[in-house]
């Protein structure tokens, strides 16, 4: 799988040059790095999220984590005004965004899981409703901001795969790599959690604390990835709600195990592969203008339905 990913990456870098290499290589390298980072971050976040919520059909995006990121951002702009917002050094701004996102995410989703009390259907439904709620609150806030100010802010806030700010890339990469290291360090404890709450407690691994730690890692991964490419919900080209779902479903097929020491790298590889390979095929081979997101959404929707129906039947 790693080899396949390397081939896709190389293909993406080198296939069909229509511009001087001196321009093309750094341009493509940045884009490739962004694709990889986002793919890996969202995949690993989904693996963690599915263990924390003890089910296979939820993803952080489905539950509105990326919407939460935009909400935090909009709230900041609303409070500070566009000029005040622009005056903050980008590094600080990024850190503040991640911090706020992690705090809010922890609060909302830990509370939500407690309320749902292990009832999967309730968790899914309330999560989707929460996601919608956050999105509409964000929209409401955005309406309160002066439209022209908002536009400048929006263009500053979310880079796209096509125009990635090197500084933002560096910041996101740092955050994502740190969060990935944290996820890796949780791997055996997450294995124990996948046995269920009672068994985990009995083995001396109380779930509540581990869940909180995992949620913080998830929030950082999603926020950093969203910062890099922008969420789907506000017109970004970031992978959709179903991306993580496809990736984990596939990772479970390729590496059928409960062990996170295997699942985390496996999902990371699949995630990178889907994004880089998908983008390579769409962009280079077919020269299609259709964003990859649309295709992912389509396939992911089908996977979601299959998983849901399979669960019902079982």
């Amino acid at each position: 799988m790693a080899a396949l990913l390397a081939v896709c990456a190389a293909g993406y870098m080198l296939w069909s040059a229509k511009a001087p290499w001196s321009f093309l290589l750094p341009y493509r390298a940045t884009k490739l790095a962004a694709l990889l980072l986002v793919g890996v971050a969202l995949s690993v976040a989904t693996v963690l999220f599915q263990t924390v919520t003890a089910n296979r059909i939820l993803t952080p995006s489905l539950m509105g984590f990326d919407a939460l990121y935009v909400f935090v951002l909009t709230l900041l702009v609303h409070m500070l005004g566009a000029t005040g917002y622009a005056a903050i050094p980008p590094g600080l701004l990024f850190a503040a965004n991640l911090g706020a996102m992690a705090g809010l995410g922890l609060l909302l989703f830990a509370g939500l899981m407690r309320l749902a009390g292990g009832d999967m259907i309730r968790l899914v439904l309330s999560g989707i409703v929460l996601g919608l709620l956050i999105r509409s609150m964000t929209e409401f806030l955005q309406r309160l901001i002066d439209p022209s100010e908002f536009q400048t802010v929006q263009s500053m806030s979310f880079a796209r795969f096509t125009q990635i700010d090197p500084l933002l890339l560096a910041l996101s990469a740092t955050a994502i790599l740190a969060a990935l290291a944290a996820a890796w360090s949780l791997r055996t404890r997450l294995d124990v959690l996948s046995l269920g709450d009672t068994a985990a407690t009995g083995l001396g691994e109380p779930p509540a604390r581990l869940r909180r730690q995992a949620l913080v890692v998830i929030c950082i991964l999603v926020a950093a990835a969203t910062a890099l490419v922008g969420p789907l919900s506000s017109g970004g080209f970031g992978p959709s709600s179903f991306f993580g779902l496809i990736v984990t479903a596939f990772a479970h097929i390729v590496t059928p195990t409960h062990r996170h020491a295997v699942l985390i790298p496996s999902a990371a590889l699949v995630g990178g592969l889907v994004l880089v390979g998908g983008q390579f095929i769409m962009e280079r081979l077919f020269a299609l203008a259709t964003p990859l997101t649309v295709v992912i959404e389509l396939i992911g929707g089908a996977v979601f339905l299959v998983l849901l129906l399979k669960r019902r039947a079982a």
Binding site: N55, T188, S194, G196, T198, L203, G204, P256, H258
Partner: protein
């Protein structure tokens, strides 16, 4: 020794345990019996810190529940809960291997693997070690969970209705294994049972619960009487003495 003092517990606003004072001595097999809803599972899960204690104190050996660190307690007390559903797809050997987690915390060594092999052997699961949990019978599955608790290598072992869904042969096998753990390994075994005859056949001591209180306790022959069946279980079944121990005629 497990010492419980002044324990009260409420669930969903209703009192489930009322003023429980109970001492379970070290060693031997103690059976916890009582009608459905008497609070047996709740009591067991409080001892095993699976729920937070609301009022009262519980200590297991020198460790006070709620004060001792979770990972330390996991090396002293193992628990097999009433519902043994696991969503992860595991092989039997992997499941039993989790019993070693409190000792290796994620890095199993040769000693841990040897312990898992011993546990599988003792519970006659060696041939099934590579089967998935959903590929074995109910009895084999229950045995695997018991083997996991055994692999945890603790002084105290708590089991909540381990005989659920077992046929007579599997149930007797499992109870004999528990008996062996008490007699040969010197463990303190506490088992919730719903069949009184299994309790009298295998336990050294019975603790009878009714409506969140301890209704009776002591040796099986002292505790199991016609009066107890009438007052605690609300049934007119008779007790006969067979081979020196009480037998409920159902």
């Amino acid at each position: 020794m497990i010492r419980i003092t002044d324990l009260h517990h409420r669930l969903g606003g209703a009192p489930v345990l009322n003023d429980i004072d109970l001492t379970i001595p070290h060693g031997g097999l103690t059976a916890l019996i009582g009608p459905n809803g008497a609070g047996k599972s709740t009591l067991l899960s409080l001892i095993a810190r699976l729920r937070p204690i609301q009022r009262g104190r519980i200590s297991v050996g020198p460790h006070e529940i709620g004060k001792v660190a979770d990972r330390d307690l996991a090396r002293v007390l193992a628990v097999m809960p009433q519902s043994t559903e696991v969503s992860a797809r595991l092989r039997l050997a992997e499941l039993v291997g989790f019993g070693r987690y409190p000792w290796h915390r994620g890095r199993p060594g040769a000693e841990d693997r040897a312990q898992v092999d011993r546990a599988l052997e003792r519970f006659s699961l060696t041939d099934l070690r590579d089967r998935f949990l959903d590929e074995v019978s109910g009895g084999q599955k229950q045995r695997a969970f018991a083997a996991m608790a055994y692999a945890q290598d603790t002084d105290y072992l708590l089991l909540d209705e381990p005989l659920n869904n077992l046929d007579i042969a599997a149930a007797r096998d499992l109870m004999r294994l528990m008996r062996g753990l008490a007699d040969e390994d010197g463990k303190t075994v506490v088992v919730v049972l719903h069949d009184i005859n299994y309790a009298t056949a295998f336990a050294d001591r019975l603790v009878v619960m009714k409506e969140g209180r301890i209704a009776a306790q002591g040796a099986p022959s002292e505790v199991v009487t016609d009066t107890l069946l009438a007052e605690v279980f609300g049934t007119t079944a008779r007790v006969a003495e067979v081979e020196g121990r009480p037998l409920v005629i159902v």
